[in-house]
Symmetry: C2
Subunit: 259 residues, 2 copies
């Protein structure tokens, strides 16, 4: 039993450089304080607040204090959303909100008639807008392609938050879509679904039909610089175990892919 220590090896896989975050809609039934604590517990580094955790009507002072609370917890409040924008006033509000909270990205759904107006705001504020696809039944942006065709000739800070669950539900392969629209892929909602059609419902990452290892390999190969944010929609009253399983699944994929 002597000198056993000498046979120990340090062969942990190369750490992924992907940024992992939380789309806080996952924790929609919990307070901001608890959402921060749960994101920390599962080891995420980035936060994208949904409005129940940071109201769009918050004052600049409230936005700054919330941003400080997130930063003090060691998280990067990079964005907010999904924010629906149906008027110029709502676009104005979203950009002031993001600016005062120090966010780099608005995950949003601007009406088709507001794209030109939103584009001007992007230039004024230097804040990215990532449009979110919501799959079958979404009249505005059902698929990644439906976003891309609308923004490809606009400011390069206008792009996509690709929701891979809704992408798979509309019958589009998330890896192929991610590769195709990579130059405008700014944010990701990472999840899994139990069927690749409109009836698909959310499940823990790895338990559904999405080929998540292949999707992550594409992001690694293309050196994706945005955040991969977990949006775990199942178990709204008790989401932490499923969120944790999903985060573990992605970490396991990345460690095995890079090992």
């Amino acid at each position: 039993m002597l000198n056993l220590r000498s046979s120990a090896r340090d062969t942990r896989p190369k750490a992924s450089q992907l940024k992992l975050g939380l789309a806080s809609y996952t924790l929609r039934k919990f307070t901001q304080e608890k959402a921060i604590a749960m994101a920390k517990r599962v080891g995420l580094d980035y936060m994208c607040f949904k409005s129940m955790h940071l109201p769009l009507s918050a004052t600049p002072a409230e936005l700054k204090s919330s941003a400080k609370r997130v930063a003090d917890a060691g998280l990067d409040l990079y964005g907010a959303g999904v924010i629906y924008m149906k008027s110029t006033a709502e676009v104005d509000q979203a950009f002031e909100y993001a600016k005062n909270a120090g966010m780099t990205t608005i995950v949003g759904v601007p009406g088709h008639d507001l794209l030109t107006y939103t584009n001007e705001k992007i230039k004024t504020y230097d804040i990215k807008v990532a449009i979110h696809n919501h799959g079958p039944g979404d009249d505005l942006y059902p698929s990644p392609e439906s976003i891309y065709v609308k923004i490809k000739d606009l400011d390069p800070r206008f792009g996509l938050c690709m929701d891979i669950g809704h992408t798979q539900r509309i019958g589009v392969d998330p890896t192929e879509a991610g590769e195709k629209y990579f130059d405008r892929l700014f944010d990701i909602h990472l999840k899994d679904v139990n069927k690749a059609d409109a009836d698909g419902t959310p499940v823990e990452a790895g338990r559904g039909v999405i080929d998540i290892p292949r999707f992550l390999k594409m992001l690694e190969d293309k050196k994706y610089q945005g955040v991969v944010s977990f949006e775990y929609e199942k178990d709204g009253d008790d989401p932490l175990p499923g969120l944790a399983e999903s985060v573990g699944y992605v970490r396991g994929c990345l460690d095995a892919l890079l090992g």
Copy 2:
């Protein structure tokens, strides 16, 4: 947006054949009923009960009804442990207990002076005994090697339950040990530790120093037929999120390795 469904692909990675289970010491502060429910929730298929979930003193009728409860939940009650055996009476009790519960494996720690006696019981009952290594400070079986040298010439149903955390803590590489003693590797306690020495404490799988992807690849390559049981020792009062993260991590590793 027409014919999008035709571009969907079914490229989910090949499923691993590894059997994933729970070492129920993880849920030592919870009832048998809750332990079964939590194992189900994280999607495990096998159960190894620690004595707080199935007392060693249980009557044959109690053992049978507990085994039925586990089976009715869709889990395979393959074993129990860790069971410490310091007398022939305790060895006798362990084998009667395992037989009446329908278990194939006793995860146990028989005293060195009881190995020959235990070996005879293995032959009589046709139940495997997998000795558990407990790392630095364990006077009987600190390392996988310390077990192997004692049982290698005994019945082939006498083997190891390799605890990869305690293996790493004693400075032995779990993958190398698993390969070396593979012919007697019957059970595994899957965990992670934050340091590769005696001071190492348990953490979520993937957050520590053990190269779990490499360990799992070894098991896959060698077509390991035993169970990989999760023993998550951190957060005793609230273990479900860390257990779920650990299970997710291993599933992610396996999907990426086999993809």
